[in-house]
C-alpha cells in the first residue's frame, strides 16, 4: 500500500517539506483557536466580552457570514445539476468544499456560542417550531449532512482510496444520485438561509431589524437567501483566485469563472434592487410607525449613515453592475474588485443585521451599546479560517478538485 500514490495523477504538487511547513504554520493558528475554544468551554462565556446588551456578537456575525459565503455551494449545485449549466461542473467540487468548510465552521461556532453546550441538543429534542433558530438548526444540520455526502465522492477519488473496488463503486453510485442531493441541498439551503434572515427580521422588539412579513416570513428571509445566492458564488470565485495565486497555476478556465460571475452579477443587481426597496419601505413606513426616523438608527459615530451607502451602493450596485457587463467581467482587475466588494457587501449586511441591531438604543435614556471582542472571541473566529485553509490545502493536494487543472497545466 505504501507505494500507492496519494497525489492525483497528472498534476504537480509542491514538495512534502514545503507543504509540511505551510501546514505547520496554519496549524499553529488552528491550535491557538482550539485553545481559546477549550478555554471558553471550560470557563464559560465570561471569556468573551459579550454582555447583556450584546447577547449576539462577533460569533453570530461570523456564523451568518460563513453561511452566506458558503451559499456558493448550493447555488452552484442548483445551476449545475438542476438548471443544467454543465460548464459549472468544473468548479462544483471547489464550491462543495467551500460549503463544507463554511457549514461545519458554522456548526462549530454555534457549539462554542451557547452557554450550555452539553444541552445543545435540546434545540432538536425540545424544538420550538415558532423559532427561526430552530429552523436554522434543523436545516443547517441537514444541509451539512448533504454537503458531507456531496464531499464524500470527491474524497473517494483520492488515488489510494479509489483503488478499493468497493469504494470505487460507491463513488460511482453516489455521483449518479448527486443531483437528488443537490436538489435537496438547494431546498434546505433556501430555507435556512432564509431562516437566518428571519432570525433578525422577526425581532419585533427591535425596530432596526424588524421587517414586514410575507405570509409567515419577514422580508429579510428572502433577502438573505437571495444575497447568499448572489454573493456566495463570488466567494467561490475569490477562493479559486486565491488558490490560483498561492499555487501559481491556472486551475479553472476563465470562461467558467465569467459564467459564474455573470450569473452572480445579475443576482446581485436584482438582490440589491429588492434590498433598496426593502430599506425604503422600512425607513419610511415600518420604522416611523414605531416612532423612529431613519437617522435614529444611524446617530452613532460608528454606525452612521455611511454604512448604508457602503452596503447598498459601494458593495451592492457597483459590483453588480461590473459583473453584468462583459467588459467588467473580462477585465481581471474589475472582476476581482467586484467579487471582493460583493463578498464584503454580504458580510457587512450580516454585520449590520447582528451587531448594529444590538447597538441601537431603544429608549432615549439609553446610549448606544458598545462591544469589543476579547482575544478568545477573535481566536475562535479565526479558527475556522485556519481550519478551512487546512481542508482546502489537503483537498487540493490529494484530491482532483479542479477537473481542468491537468489540461491547463500539462506535465511534460
Amino acid at each position: 500500500m505504501n507505494g500507492m500514490p496519494l497525489i492525483p495523477a497528472g498534476v504537480n504538487r509542491c514538495s512534502k517539506r514545503r507543504f509540511a511547513f505551510w501546514m505547520a504554520a496554519v496549524t499553529a493558528v488552528l491550535v491557538w483557536g482550539v485553545y481559546a475554544m477549550f478555554l471558553i468551554w471550560y470557563k464559560g462565556l465570561n471569556q468573551t466580552r459579550m454582555n447583556d446588551a450584546y447577547g449576539f456578537a462577533l460569533w453570530i456575525w461570523a456564523d451568518l457570514s460563513v453561511i452566506a459565503l458558503g451559499g456558493g455551494a448550493f447555488f452552484s449545485g442548483f445551476l449545475t445539476y438542476i438548471v443544467g449549466k454543465d460548464k459549472l461542473a468544473n468548479i462544483i467540487n471547489f464550491a462543495v468544499i467551500i460549503g463544507f468548510i463554511c457549514y461545519s465552521s458554522a456548526l462549530l461556532i454555534l457549539t462554542i456560542d451557547i452557554g450550555q453546550p452539553l444541552r445543545g441538543w435540546f434545540i432538536f429534542w425540545h424544538a420550538n417550531v415558532h423559532s427561526m433558530l430552530t429552523e436554522v438548526a434543523f436545516c443547517l444540520s441537514c444541509y451539512f449532512a448533504v454537503l458531507t455526502i456531496e464531499f464524500i465522492p470527491l474524497i473517494l477519488e483520492n488515488p489510494r482510496l479509489a483503488k478499493k473496488p468497493f469504494l470505487n463503486h460507491l463513488t460511482h453510485n453516489m455521483h449518479g444520485v448527486m443531483p437528488i442531493f443537490a436538489a435537496t441541498g438547494v431546498f434546505l439551503s433556501f430555507f435556512h438561509q432564509g431562516s437566518l434572515g428571519g432570525v433578525a427580521g422577526v425581532l419585533y422588539g427591535r425596530p432596526f431589524a424588524y421587517r414586514e412579513h410575507v405570509f409567515i416570513w419577514p422580508w429579510t428571509f428572502f433577502l438573505f437567501t437571495w444575497s447568499a445566492a448572489a454573493c456566495g458564488p463570488c466567494f467561490t470565485i475569490l477562493g479559486i483566485w486565491l488558490t490560483e495565486k498561492i499555487t501559481r497555476k491556472k486551475l479553472v478556465k476563465q470562461d467558467v469563472i465569467r459564467l459564474l460571475a455573470k450569473i452572480s452579477g445579475w443576482m446581485i443587481i436584482t438582490y440589491i434592487i429588492a434590498k433598496t426597496a426593502d430599506t425604503l419601505y422600512w425607513a419610511f413606513v415600518t420604522a416611523p410607525s414605531r416612532g423612529f426616523t431613519l437617522m435614529d438608527f444611524y446617530s452613532s459615530p460608528t454606525y452612521n449613515i455611511g454604512l448604508l451607502f457602503i452596503e447598498i451602493v459601494l458593495c451592492g450596485f457597483v459590483p453588480g453592475l461590473i459583473l453584468i457587463t462583459r467588459k467588467g467581467r473580462e477585465n481581471a482587475f474589475l472582476l476581482m474588485s467586484a467579487v471582493i466588494l460583493a463578498v464584503m457587501g454580504v458580510s457587512l449586511n450580516r454585520w449590520v443585521m447582528v451587531l448594529q441591531v444590538m447597538a441601537v438604543p431603544l429608549f432615549s435614556f439609553d446610549d448606544w451599546f458598545t462591544y469589543m471582542p476579547s482575544w478568545q472571541e477573535v481566536a475562535t473566529t479565526i479558527l475556522p479560517v485556519a481550519y478551512g485553509l487546512i481542508v482546502i490545502s489537503l483537498a487540493y493536494r490529494y484530491l482532483p478538485v479542479f477537473p481542468q487543472e491537468q489540461e491547463l497545466n500539462p506535465i511534460d
Binding site: 450550555q116 452539553l118 444541552r119 441538543w121 435540546f122
Partner: protein, 763 residues
C-alpha cells in the same frame, strides 16, 4: 482467515464499526446524552437551598438608628429574608435597602468570627485567634494597670449612634472606673437636641410630626436619602396626600429634591441665612403666631435684664436679613423668598426641618436654631404637625454607685474632647475635636486606651489622615465590632459583638420620630460564630476589675441588665417587641419650658455668659469658613447621600452596592457630579478621569455630568471608599472623609462643615 499486521487494522475497524452500530441500538449514547445535560442542570457547585418549614420571627432592624420593625423569614432554621413589619409604628412595613439586605451582614465574609489579637503591625491584617477568656483578660489587665497609674481618665470609649441602654451601661462602667470620656460622633440629631435644650431647656431629641404637617420645608434634609428612620420617611412620602406641600432647599437635585413638590437651589451653607430671611418676612408682614410668641417666648423683642442692661431681641436680629441681603447670600430670588415665607406662614401646620442629607454632620448651631425659630414663630411646638421633644427615657434606678478615690479624681478631670467644659458647656460630646487634640498634644496621648463599640471612627470621622495619625498615638485600641471594619482592622484586640440579628438591643426614640417608640431587637438565631454581646463583655470586665466596679454590676449578663433596666416595658417588649408612648401633652403642659425664663427662648440664655455679646447668643447667620483659599481651590466639594448607600459606620452590603448606578461608582472609582457648565470650563467630559484635590487630600475620580447640580460645585457620594472588609465591600471609590475636614462651630464645638474648597483637573 489469518490475522496479521496488515489486516489487523481492517478487522479492528470492522469491529469498531460494528461496535458503533450496536452501541447506537443500546441506551448508552442516548442515556449519556440525557444524563450529561442533567449533570449540567445539577452541577455540584451550584447550591441547592435546603427546604424547611416556613416561619417568621419578629425583631427590630438595628443597622441604623431608625429602629424599623422587621420579620425574619425562616426556611427551617435558616433566616432567608428580612421583610418589613406592617404593624410596627415606625415603618409600618416599609424598609430601606440596607434593612432588606440585613442577612448579608449576618452571613457575610466580613464577620469577625472569634476574638482576635493583633500579630503584625497595626492595620497589617495579621491576627491571632484567641479565646474570650484571653481577650477579656488582656483588656481588663490594661484597664487595671491604667487605674493603678491613677490615670483612669485616659480611657475613652466611642459608642455608636444607635442609643439604647448599652451606651448607658458603658457610661456606668466608665464612671465607676473613673473616666468621663464616653463619646459618640455627633450628628444633626445631636445638633437638634442641643437646639431643643437651648430653646426649651429640655434634654431630649427633636421629633418632627411630618405625618400631620401640611407644609414641609426642608433645609437640605435628605428625607428620602436616609434621613431619620428611612422606612418611615419613604412610607410617608408614598402615603402623603395632595394637600401636603413639600419644599426641598439644597444646591443639588437630590432624590429627595426630585420627589419634592418643589426644589429650590441655594448657595451651599447659606440655609441659616434663608431661615432668618423667611423669618424676616414673616415678622415684617406679621404672619407669625402672635399669641404663642407673646405668651410663651422669650427674647423676641428687645429687653432689659435685671441689671438694666439693654439686650437685642430676635426681631431686631432679623432686621439684618431683608430679602435683598438674603437673596445675595443664598442666590435665591427675592420674590421667591417672599412667596416662600408667605406660603409657609399661610399653612396651618407648617414645619421646618434641617440637617443636611442623612444628617451625618451636625452643622452649625446657629443654623439649627434659626430653623427651629421658624417653627417657634408659627407656634408649632409640641403640637400636631409640629416640632416635638422626645424626652430622654427615664430608666429604672440602678443601684447607687460607690466610687473610690481614683474614680472620683478621674471623673473630675476634663473630658478629652472638651465637651461640657468652659468652651462648650452645652455640648455633650465632641468626638470631632479629638484627633486634633491628640495630634497637638506634645508627648504621648491624652487617650491611653480606646474602646470602640458599634462605631467605626477611622472611617466616619472627617479628615481620615488626621484621624489615622491620632489613632497611631493611642497605645491601646480595642474594637468590639462584629465586622472587620476600618477601626477593627486597626485595633490591637477585637472582641466581636454578636451581629444585630443575634443579640438583644433596645432601640428608643427612632431618629426624627415625633413620639417615643421603644423597640426591642431580639436575637432571632443563635450566634453563628464565637462572638459575645458587648454588654456581657463589659459586665464580665467589671466583675474582673473588682471592688466598686464589680459592685456596680450586680447583673449576671446583659439580658438581666436589660430586663432590670426596662422593668415595666420589658414584659411588653418581650411579647410585642415594641412599646409606643404617645403622650399628648395637656394644653397646659405643652408650652411648659425648662429654660431660665420658663419660656421658649429665641434668645437662648444658656448660651449667654461673661463676655458673650447678644450677637453671640442670638442665632445670627454664621457661615462656616471653609478650608482652602478661594483662588487655588476654585470649586466647592459637597457630600451627597443616597439611601442606596450606608452612610454611617457600616459599609453598604453587596446588594446595596449592586443597586448603585454606574454614574456613581465604576469599578473602583467614584464618579463626582459636576454641572456641564463647570465641565466645559474645566475641559472635562462624561466618564473622564480627573484628579480631585482639597486642602485635606486628593483622589482620583471619574466625572459625571449632572445638570441638577449648581455650577461651581462638586458632589461626591458619601459611603464609598471603605478600605477594610472583604472584596465585596472594600476598595470601591473614595471615602469623602479623606478629602473633608471638620470645622469647629465656635458656638457649640460641633462639626459645622458642609463642604470644602476643591479643585479638579483633567488627567
Amino acid at each position: 482467515m489469518k490475522i496479521n499486521r496488515r489486516n489487523f487494522l481492517t478487522y479492528t475497524t470492522a469491529a469498531a464499526l460494528g461496535g458503533a452500530a450496536g452501541t447506537l441500538l443500546t441506551p448508552v449514547p442516548w442515556k449519556l446524552m440525557d444524563d450529561a445535560a442533567i449533570w449540567t442542570q445539577n452541577w455540584p457547585w451550584t447550591p441547592v437551598p435546603e427546604a424547611g418549614p416556613v416561619s417568621y420571627k419578629p425583631s427590630i432592624c438595628t443597622l441604623c438608628p431608625g429602629g424599623c420593625g422587621i420579620y425574619v423569614r425562616f426556611s427551617g432554621n435558616r433566616p432567608v429574608k428580612i421583610e418589613g413589619m406592617k404593624e410596627h409604628p415606625v415603618n409600618k412595613g416599609a424598609l430601606c435597602p440596607m434593612g432588606l439586605s440585613g442577612l448579608q451582614y449576618l452571613y457575610g465574609p466580613d464577620r469577625v468570627r472569634s476574638p482576635l489579637k493583633r500579630e503584625g503591625k497595626r492595620g497589617e491584617g495579621k491576627w491571632k485567634k484567641i479565646t474570650w477568656d484571653e481577650a477579656l483578660a488582656a483588656v481588663t489587665e490594661k484597664l487595671a494597670s491604667l487605674r493603678k497609674l491613677e490615670e483612669p481618665q485616659s480611657v475613652a470609649c466611642i459608642t455608636g449612634m444607635e442609643g439604647g441602654t448599652l451606651p448607658s451601661l458603658i457610661g456606668r462602667f466608665l464612671t465607676v472606673y473613673g473616666s468621663p470620656n464616653l463619646m459618640r460622633q455627633a450628628t444633626a440629631q445631636d445638633a437638634g437636641a442641643q437646639a431643643v435644650f437651648l430653646t426649651q431647656g429640655k434634654q431630649g431629641t427633636p421629633g418632627f410630626d411630618i405625618e400631620n404637617a401640611d407644609f414641609i420645608l426642608s433645609f437640605g434634609s435628605g428625607m428620602l436619602d436616609g434621613w431619620g428612620a428611612p422606612g418611615r420617611m419613604s412610607r410617608l412620602f408614598g402615603a402623603r396626600n395632595t394637600a401636603q406641600r413639600f419644599i426641598q432647599i439644597e444646591p443639588r437635585l437630590s432624590d429627595t429634591a426630585a420627589s419634592a413638590n418643589r426644589w429650590i437651589g441655594i448657595n451651599p451653607g447659606t440655609e441659616g441665612a434663608l431661615a432668618l430671611g423667611l423669618a424676616h418676612i414673616i415678622v415684617k408682614e406679621s404672619l407669625y403666631n402672635k399669641h404663642f410668641v407673646e405668651t410663651f417666648t422669650f427674647g423676641f423683642n428687645d429687653w432689659n435684664d435685671e441689671a438694666g442692661v439693654a439686650h437685642t431681641g430676635f426681631k431686631a436680629l432679623l432686621e439684618g436679613y431683608g430679602p435683598e441681603n438674603v437673596s445675595r447670600i443664598t442666590g435665591i430670588q427675592e420674590a421667591l423668598i417672599k412667596s416662600l415665607a408667605r406660603e409657609f406662614a399661610g399653612s396651618s401646620r407648617p414645619i421646618a426641618i434641617n440637617g443636611r442629607g442623612k444628617g451625618a454632620l451636625p452643622g452649625g448651631m446657629n443654623e439649627t436654631l434659626a430653623v427651629h425659630a421658624l417653627n417657634a414663630l408659627m407656634g408649632n411646638i409640641n403640637k400636631t404637625g409640629g416640632l416635638y421633644v422626645i424626652p430622654e427615657l427615664t430608666y429604672a434606678k440602678w443601684p447607687d454607685l460607690g466610687m473610690d478615690g481614683i474614680a472620683s479624681r478621674g471623673m473630675r478631670q476634663p473630658r478629652c474632647d472638651g465637651a461640657g467644659g468652659d468652651l462648650f458647656p452645652n455640648s455633650r460630646f465632641l468626638l470631632n475635636r479629638v484627633p486634633t487634640l491628640i495630634n497637638t498634644t506634645k508627648d504621648g496621648s491624652p487617650v491611653e486606651a480606646l474602646l470602640v463599640v458599634d462605631a467605626n471612627p477611622m472611617y466616619t470621622l472627617p479628615d481620615t489622615a488626621a484621624t489615622r495619625k491620632a489613632f497611631e498615638r493611642i497605645p491601646f485600641i480595642v474594637s468590639f465590632s462584629s465586622y472587620m471594619d476600618e477601626t477593627a482592622s486597626y485595633a490591637d484586640y477585637i472582641l466581636p459583638d454578636h451581629s444585630p440579628l443575634e443579640r438583644y438591643q433596645d432601640v428608643p426614640a427612632p431618629a426624627g420620630m415625633s413620639h417615643q417608640v421603644i423597640s426591642l431587637a431580639v436575637p432571632v438565631i443563635k450566634p453563628l460564630y464565637d462572638t459575645r454581646h458587648t454588654g456581657d463583655a463589659f459586665i464580665h470586665m467589671a466583675k474582673a476589675l473588682g471592688g466598686f466596679i464589680e459592685e456596680a454590676f450586680p447583673w449576671n449578663g446583659y439580658e438581666a441588665f436589660l430586663e432590670d433596666t426596662l422593668q415595666g416595658h420589658w414584659r411588653i417588649l418581650k411579647k410585642k417587641g415594641v412599646v409606643e408612648i404617645i403622650e399628648t401633652p395637656a394644653a397646659s403642659d405643652r408650652f411648659t419650658f425648662n429654660t431660665a425664663s420658663a419660656k421658649y427662648e429665641f434668645y437662648p440664655t444658656a448660651r449667654a455668659g461673661t463676655g458673650k455679646r447678644d450677637s453671640d447668643v442670638l442665632p445670627a447667620y454664621a457661615p462656616a469658613i471653609l478650608d482652602g483659599d478661594e483662588k487655588t481651590f476654585n470649586l466647592i466639594l459637597i457630600p451627597c447621600d443616597s439611601i442606596r448607600m450606608a452612610g454611617d459606620h457600616m459599609a453598604s452590603s453587596p446588594f446595596m452596592t449592586k443597586t448603585v448606578d454606574d454614574t456613581v461608582l465604576k469599578k473602583q472609582m467614584t464618579l463626582v457630579e459636576i454641572n456641564p457648565a463647570t465641565a466645559l470650563k474645566l475641559n472635562l467630559e462624561e466618564g473622564g478621569k480627573a484628579l480631585l484635590k482639597t486642602p485635606k487630600g486628593k483622589a482620583s475620580v471619574l466625572i459625571h455630568l449632572y445638570e441638577g447640580i449648581m455650577p461651581g460645585l462638586i458632589a461626591m457620594p458619601r459611603g464609598l471608599g471603605h478600605t477594610a472588609y472583604s472584596e465585596y465591600l472594600a476598595n470601591k471609590g473614595t471615602n469623602i472623609n479623606e478629602l473633608m475636614g471638620p470645622i469647629e462651630d465656635p458656638a457649640s464645638g460641633l462639626d459645622m462643615a458642609w463642604g470644602i474648597r476643591a479643585q479638579l483637573f483633567r488627567v
